[in-house]
Structure formats: structure tokens, C-alpha cells
């Protein structure tokens, strides 16, 4: 099994902040917007170094999305940032009409996605955002797995013309992506080659999948682990190539099983290569208060849940 070293736990939102710092220094067209959550989004350095390119909109996310759309008219590349809940569901129609349908080059950057926001509870824990965003025609949806990948994804989306939803989170998690790895939108990353089962994971669940694969290896099960950092456009070929070899698949995501990565994978498989699949995801429920670890345990989103799903899907081959 390929070994991955945790270079030290960090939050993915800090990866976003680091990416913004770099973009501030390298791309004069990049501008940043935030709705009263500067500290949470870790963009203090960008603001300090580029005060004229930062727009504090206050607690007014609808206005933020519209202003971001307008800033593109004149060649700016706006990165509009807030919590995932307020960056998607709260402003769906603004994103739909003023950004997606209007083909605007806006980057919607969403922190505190999923359950791992923790103690604030379900009002702030969105588990539907991937679904909301992937349904919009023309929207690219990216959910990187760790600090390094979030930083490189932030930098990469500035070079991509078109609306992007970039999803990341709050807790400090393992940081194992090579620091110099270039982020390629839509290109799945093979993390561990295997022959018995394919694990397709996104976001925080990628590291959990690696832990699960290690444990499975000790049980004599060879798991192929692929990081699906881009949910749309989905890397159909990488998925099909792997599944044709292994014959079964587990998808893993910090999101509702309705509308998430799992359903996108199921569509590809049903169309091209029907295959047994198990879904590690929340089961059409809201979250609740708790520590990230407690919540991931209770809602079945950790390495143990992935391992169980693998054992289950193997029996269906």
C-alpha cells in the first residue's frame, strides 16, 4: 500500500487563505469578497496586502453574489467567500441567475461545509450544497481533501474561466498531499492501486479512506483509493477504469447521499457499467451539535464506516 505521511494537521480553510495570499501576489485581477467572516475564512493576509481588492459586504450574502457577478464585468476574478450554508442554499437564486445562467467568472468559496463545523449545529452544517451546486448548468464543483490541495485548488480555479464552487471545511485534518502537486480540475487522483474494491472519496473522507484501505490490507483486501476532488465535471474514465477492474465501489463524502458524489458516480455506473455500490454519506438527515469526531462517528462518516461499507459491497460482487 502506498504510504502517505501526515505533514501536520491543518484546516482546509487555511489552505484557502494561503491560496488567496498567493493569488493576491500573482494575479492582479483576483478580488476577494466576504460576508462578515474574514477570520473564519483566513483571508487576513490577502486583505492586508491588497486592501483595495477586498470587499467587505457585511451580513448580506445575496448582495455579495450580485456584486461578485458585476465585478466580472470589467475583467475581475471575484472570490466570494462565506460559510457553505450561506454561500449556497441561502443565495441559490442569486447564484443561478446572476452567476451561472449569466456565465459569470465567479468563484464561490465555501468554508465550514458538512458536519465537521461541529458545535454550532445543524443551522450551520449544510449537507446539501454539493447537490445544489452540481445541478446548476456550467458550474464546476470542487471539494479538496486537505490543506495543500485546497491551496493548490484555490490557485487553479483562478485560471479556469467560469463559475466554480470550491468547498472546504473548518477542522484541522491530516495534510498529506505533496506541497508542490499541481491541481488539475476534473482529473481524479489515484492514491492507492488495488484490485478488490474501489473507494471513491472526496473532501475530508479521502484521508479516512486511506486509513480504511490500510486496515483492509491487513485483512487481505486490496482497496483502490481514488481522490475525487472534482465532483463536476466528474472523471468518468478514471472511475470506470477502476471499477471494471475491481467490480465494486464505495463512495465516501461528508454530504447527504441524495445529490452528492455517490449519486453522480451511480449515474456513470448505471449508464456504462452497472456495478454494486455502497454509499458512505449522511442518510437524508440534518446534523446536530457535537465535536467533529463525535459527529463523524455518529453519522457514519469515518474510516470504520468506510471499512464496513467495503465488507458489505464485497459480498454483493
Amino acid at each position: 500500500m502506498t504510504k502517505y505521511i501526515d505533514q501536520g494537521k491543518q484546516d482546509t480553510r487555511s489552505g484557502y487563505g494561503a491560496g488567496m495570499t498567493e493569488l493576491g501576489r500573482t494575479n492582479p485581477n483576483v478580488v476577494s469578497l466576504c460576508a462578515d467572516l474574514v477570520g473564519s475564512l483566513k483571508i487576513d493576509t490577502f486583505i492586508k496586502e491588497n486592501p483595495e481588492r477586498f470587499f467587505q459586504v457585511g451580513i448580506a450574502e445575496a448582495n455579495m453574489m450580485g456584486i461578485a457577478a458585476g465585478l466580472t464585468i470589467g475583467g475581475k476574478i471575484p472570490f466570494a467567500s462565506t460559510f457553505a450554508n450561506f454561500a449556497t442554499g441561502r443565495v441559490y437564486d442569486q447564484i443561478r441567475q446572476s452567476i451561472a445562467y449569466s456565465d459569470k467568472n465567479v468563484k464561490i468559496c465555501a468554508s465550514h461545509s458538512g458536519l465537521t463545523l461541529g458545535e454550532d449545529g445543524a443551522t450551520h452544517q449544510i449537507l446539501e450544497d454539493i447537490g445544489l451546486m452540481k445541478m446548476l448548468p456550467g458550474m464546476t464543483v470542487i471539494n479538496p481533501c486537505d490543506y495543500n490541495q485546497t491551496k493548490s485548488a484555490t490557485i487553479a480555479i483562478a485560471e479556469h474561466h467560469g463559475p466554480v464552487y470550491l468547498r472546504f471545511g473548518r477542522p484541522k485534518v491530516a495534510n498529506f498531499t505533496p506541497v508542490d502537486q499541481k491541481f488539475e480540475i476534473g482529473k481524479a487522483l489515484m492514491l492507492n492501486k488495488g484490485t478488490d474494491v474501489t473507494i471513491l472519496a472526496t473532501g475530508h473522507l479521502v484521508w479516512q479512506s486511506l486509513l480504511a484501505a490500510e486496515s483492509l490490507e491487513n485483512q487481505g483486501i486490496s482497496a483502490e483509493v481514488i481522490n475525487i476532488h472534482t465532483i463536476k465535471p466528474l472523471d468518468d474514465k478514471a472511475i470506470l477504469d477502476s471499477v471494471k477492474k475491481t467490480g465494486c465501489v464505495v463512495t465516501a463524502e461528508e454530504h447527504n447521499y441524495l445529490g452528492g458524489l455517490g449519486e453522480s458516480v451511480a449515474r456513470v455506473l448505471a449508464t456504462h457499467h452497472p456495478t454494486p455500490q455502497e454509499f458512505v454519506a449522511t442518510q437524508d438527515t440534518f446534523g446536530e451539535s457535537g465535536t467533529p469526531e463525535q459527529l463523524m462517528e455518529k453519522y457514519g462518516l469515518n474510516n470504520k464506516a468506510i471499512e464496513e461499507a467495503v465488507l458489505k459491497v464485497l459480498k454483493r460482487k
Binding site: 470587499f55 448580506a60 450580485g66 457577478a69 464585468i73 441567475q97 445562467y101 449569466s102
Partner: protein
């Protein structure tokens, strides 16, 4: 620059275009379109500094955003007659495979349109963003926007109104079409909007009023006055009183023609009241 008579002729011709467009497809919004005809004609032919041709970024020219997108007929007619696209294309309004969608969009790449609108209340935020981009680019041109009065019931407007004043977006001129009507009736009956000018003022805008937005000279004077007030630390609002359905007697003084097309007979009557000036498409 065209003289007043030429602009008046264009107003009449645009009214004919609006009526014929909505009649042909038996759908669309003639009332608000007719009420804003003088505004659009003045804006595009007298007020705005425009480059030849169209590019999305619009650097080095004034920009316009239509927030109440349902009055697309007047927007399309004025854009076509300004040369943004062939006048004959007005024939395709609301038809399948057309660039002239029911509400304006950029998706079909219609020259002159920079954002989709129709879902109400979003245009002012977009106009603010474009105005901020102009400031970043060192472009001293202006951004104009138009909003329905009923549209002010959408909360996003007030986020935008607060932002523009608080951040001194003083290269923006937002006009509110105060026709007092919306789909379900008078604005003050559906949900009272009250004193629009006073509301913008207390939010920190510089406000002026156009008493008769269907008087071309008043509209031009008001827009010029608004231009003179830009660059002074405050966004500028024009509260423009108009008559929905203006220029067609049976469409005036009612909200009934908000989103309804005339019959064959009604069209004939309406066109008689607005004899051809520059040639129908």
C-alpha cells in the same frame, strides 16, 4: 447627437415595436415597457457614452443594467435601433431558438445584455459590482441601472442600497420606475412601498425626482442632473414617475397590461395612436 424631434420619432417607433413584439407571440410585458420608453431612448441616444460594438467588459464606456427584466421589449427595441443587433431580429422575440428570450439573458450572447434578469431584486447588486470594477480599472465612466418600484419589495435591494451608500459607490445612477403598479394591483395596495425618495435618502443616497418620466425633455434633464451629481461620494438615485402603458390610451391608468398582449383589434387601435415614424421592422 440626435435632436429632440428625432428622439420623439424614435420613442413612437419603439412603442410600435413593443406592441408588435408582444402581439405576435401573445405574451410579454407591454405596460412597463411603454412606461419606460422615453427613459430608454434618452439613455441610449443622449445620455450614455457608448463605444461602437459590444464587449462584455465594457471598459471605457458607460454601462446599463436592467433589473426588472420583464420589460425586455423596450430594452430589445432600443438596443436593436441603436445598432447592437439587426432590427429584424425583433421578429424572433420569445420564439424558440431566439437570442431575444422572454427575459434578457447573456446565455444566447445577445449584444447589449451583460447579465440575466427577471428574477427580481438582483440588478442593483450587479450594477454595484460593475461600478466597483470601473473604479478598480481607473475607468471614470458611469453605471446606470433601472428598477421597478414593486421590485423594491425584494430584500436584496436594501442590502445593495445600504452597501452602495456605505461604500461611496458614487459612479452609479440607479433609477426607480415609480409607476405605482405591480401584477396584483397598485403597489400601495399589494405591499406599501411608501416614499421611495425618502427611503433612499435616509440610506445615504443623493436622490432626485423626475416628475413626469414620460416627458422626454424632463427625462433628459433629470438624467443629466444625475450625471452631474456623480463622483461626489454618494450613489445617485432617480425616482422617476411614469405611467404604465403610456402612449396607448386603453393601457394607461391600470395594472391590467403588466403582462398581457393586445388582441388584433387592440393592436390596430394602439398602432393608430402611434403612427409609424422610422419604419417598422
Amino acid at each position: 447627437m440626435p435632436n429632440t424631434q428625432e428622439l420623439q420619432d424614435l420613442v413612437i417607433q419603439v412603442r410600435r415595436d413593443i406592441l408588435r413584439m408582444v402581439h405576435k407571440v401573445n405574451s410579454g410585458h407591454p405596460g412597463g415597457s411603454l412606461g419606460c420608453t422615453e427613459f430608454f431612448v434618452a439613455l441610449y441616444n443622449e445620455i450614455m457614452d457608448l463605444k461602437d460594438g459590444f464587449d462584455m467588459d465594457g471598459i471605457g464606456e458607460d454601462l446599463f443594467f436592467l433589473s426588472n427584466g420583464h420589460i425586455s421589449p423596450v430594452f430589445y427595441s432600443v438596443l436593436a435601433r441603436k445598432g447592437y443587433f439587426p432590427i429584424e431580429e425583433l421578429n424572433t422575440f420569445r420564439l424558440i431558438d431566439s437570442r431575444l428570450q422572454g427575459h434578457p439573458t447573456t446565455h444566447e450572447r445577445l449584444p447589449g445584455v451583460r447579465v440575466a434578469s427577471g428574477s427580481l431584486g438582483q440588478g442593483m447588486s450587479v450594477a454595484i459590482g460593475a461600478a466597483l470594477a470601473k473604479k478598480l480599472n481607473g475607468d471614470d465612466h458611469l453605471v446606470f441601472s433601472l428598477h421597478g418600484d414593486g421590485e423594491l419589495q425584494e430584500g436584496q435591494n436594501w442590502e445593495a442600497i445600504m452597501y452602495a451608500a456605505g461604500n461611496k459607490v458614487d459612479n452609479l445612477i440607479a433609477t426607480v420606475d415609480r409607476n405605482g403598479q405591480q401584477i396584483d394591483g397598485g403597489t400601495e395596495d399589494v405591499l406599501p412601498i411608501g416614499d421611495v425618495a425618502e427611503k433612499f435618502k435616509v440610506f445615504g443616497w443623493d436622490v432626485l425626482e423626475i416628475e413626469n418620466g414620460n416627458d422626454l425633455e424632463q427625462v433628459i434633464a433629470g438624467l443629466n442632473e444625475a450625471k452631474s451629481r456623480t463622483g461626489k461620494g454618494k450613489p445617485v438615485c432617480i425616482v422617476m414617475k411614469t405611467e404604465m402603458g403610456n402612449g396607448v390610451d386603453f393601457m394607461m391608468h391600470t395594472h391590467a397590461w403588466h403582462g398581457k398582449a393586445p388582441s388584433d383589434e387592440q393592436l390596430a387601435t394602439a398602432l393608430e395612436q402611434n403612427p409609424e415614424t422610422l419604419g417598422d421592422y
